[in-house]
């Protein structure tokens, strides 16, 4: 999909590939995503979704090719303040430190901005508490702010992870199967929340999901992967059940049953 010259390019991949011992995770892939777009990555397990998202989030480095965020080369950015203000990643689970309180986990989003001493002091008496409160209000969990994170349910913990993203305030939100372990109702709520946050601050939102319904409802573009190769890259309106069926077939896997509207 060609980027129009007026819109800024948030993410650009140029012939990016990644392999692991014994297998090729991603073949040379290129595409561009503009600021403010909401892109869904779909594909069967092992198709390279997580690899792709981790590459975009700067978690891993590609074997070949380049990734650009806001036209800055990703490989030249050091993890830390610069990278974390550009992109934030949320996973299916295990993002949060279970022993810490919700407040500390949320405030961890500021770690990129804090120095060592500040971080240390904040463990004892948290700085920027209003920031955490604000973020938790947006996700609806203010009353749990002082609780130990491990006491919250899976869905609630995901919302805390989102609150942390809010505090971190990156320009791009990358979500790797954020709702895979939630029931359909909570899944919808969560994607709704993420999409809303992205829309309101004009953030770019890229997520891997299984549900086609969620894709149609909250995203405007879908990229399909299979066996590490990009199969299609289309506006969501052009993505038909047959197209998706072809993506998932012959893998022995069935699509997640679509939640009937």
């Amino acid at each position: 999909m060609a980027a129009s010259n007026e819109q800024q390019r948030a993410i650009r991949l140029d012939q990016v590939s990644k392999s692991y011992p014994g297998r090729m995770a991603l073949y040379a892939t290129s595409f561009e995503i503009n600021v403010g777009e909401a892109v869904a990555i779909v594909g069967p397990s092992g198709s390279g979704k997580t690899t792709l998202l981790h590459l975009m989030g700067g978690v891993i480095q590609p074997d070949s090719g380049d990734i650009f965020l806001n036209d800055h080369r990703l490989s030249e950015m050091k993890p830390g303040r610069e990278l974390s203000s550009l992109v934030g990643v949320i996973h299916q689970q295990y993002d949060l430190v279970p022993h810490l309180s919700v407040m500390h986990n949320v405030l961890a989003g500021r770690l990129g901005q804090w120095g060592i001493l500040q971080s240390l002091m904040s463990l004892v008496s948290p700085k920027n508490q209003t920031l955490a409160v604000g973020a938790l209000e947006q996700v609806g969990l203010v009353d749990r702010i002082r609780e130990r994170t491990s006491r919250l349910s899976g869905g609630e913990q995901q919302r805390v992870a989102i609150a942390r993203l809010l505090v971190q305030d990156p320009e791009v939100i990358i979500a790797d199967e954020p709702v895979a372990s939630l029931d359909p109702a909570r899944a919808t709520d969560l994607i709704d929340l993420l999409a809303k946050i992205a829309r309101e601050s004009n953030k770019t939102f890229v997520a891997s999901i299984h549900s086609t319904d969620l894709a149609h409802q909250y995203f405007n573009r879908v990229i399909g992967l299979r066996n590490g190769e990009k199969q299609f890259d289309l506006p969501v309106a052009f993505v038909s059940p047959e197209l998706l069926g072809g993506l998932y077939e012959l893998e022995g896997l069935e699509r997640e049953s679509v939640v009937q509207e």
Binding site: R146, E147, R148, R151
Partner: protein, 266 residues
């Protein structure tokens, strides 16, 4: 409900930190800081003693003596630990209460066994050693018993815990097919608890070598005795040779036991 458990957690942690800090502070006060921390000439002693670390004595004659002492210590450790297992295992089984069903017989046996085990392991092996030497005179037996008794207390207690913590379902199946409590123990509990018991016994063996070395300070053949002789003669190079040998044996057993442990949990 949620609020109380939440605040109890934080209060507990805060109180604990306070207690630990207070304990440390008070203890620091107990030290006599005024009387001069270091011995007169302490620094030169330190240099001489710890300098010997780099120049251990390696003459063949001394090495032969050192290796013999190492062997002595090893045999003491082995005999002490095996005796400890012999005493600790029955006591542990009694303390776990697995052979009895509910009733006063069970509670009294369990209580008595636990008391004996607790008493045995409260007293440090050197104190036991001293008691036995005064009572029975200086002999290998005094050292072996001094090692075996507290170790039997430690081993027995843990054996009891392991036997108790075994998964219940296989035992239920055994009982349903008619096995008595004793047979359940033999066929069910012991095999299932065996990896933990073996692994901990090996760990105790490693500790036993250390203890045996110390026990030989009392005057019986072994590394401790030789270390004392060399220290009295101020021959620190020899002291370090012996210490290195001790550490080498302990490390060897440590490696052996971690290999065994890894194989057991596979």
């Amino acid at each position: 409900m949620r609020a109380s458990s939440r605040s109890k957690f934080r209060e507990g942690r805060g109180l604990l930190t306070l207690i630990l800090a207070a304990a440390l502070g008070l203890s620091l006060l107990s030290v006599d800081w005024t009387g001069g921390l270091l011995h007169s000439g302490g620094v030169s002693y330190a240099v001489r003693i710890f300098g010997g670390m780099f120049t251990p004595e390696l003459s063949p004659k001394f090495l032969a003596l050192a290796l013999e002492a190492t062997w002595n210590t090893l045999t003491f450790a082995v005999t002490g630990v095996t005796l400890a297992v012999g005493i600790g295992l029955p006591l542990g089984i009694a303390a776990s209460g697995v052979l009895f069903s509910e009733g006063w017989l069970r509670t009294s046996t369990v209580a008595a066994a636990r008391f004996v085990l607790a008493f045995l392991r409260s007293i440090h092996e050197l104190v036991w050693a001293w008691l036995f030497v005064v009572a029975f005179g200086l002999s290998p037996m005094a050292a072996i018993l001094a090692l075996a008794l507290p170790y039997s207390g430690i081993l027995g207690r843990l054996y009891g815990d392991f036997l108790n913590d075994v998964p219940q379902n296989p035992l239920r199946a055994l009982r349903a097919s008619g096995a008595s409590e004793f047979k359940t123990l033999a066929y069910g509990r012991i095999p299932m608890a065996m990896p933990d018991m073996l692994s901990y016994t090996f760990y105790r063996f490693e500790c036993g070598v250390r203890s045996a070395a110390i026990l030989s300070f009392v005057g019986i053949q072994g590394l401790g005795y030789q270390i004392q002789l060399s220290m009295d003669d101020l021959l620190y190079d020899q002291v370090w040779t012996l210490m290195y040998l001790l550490v080498a044996v302990i490390v060897a057993i440590d490696v052996w036991s971690s290999v065994v442990r890894r194989n057991l949990t596979r």
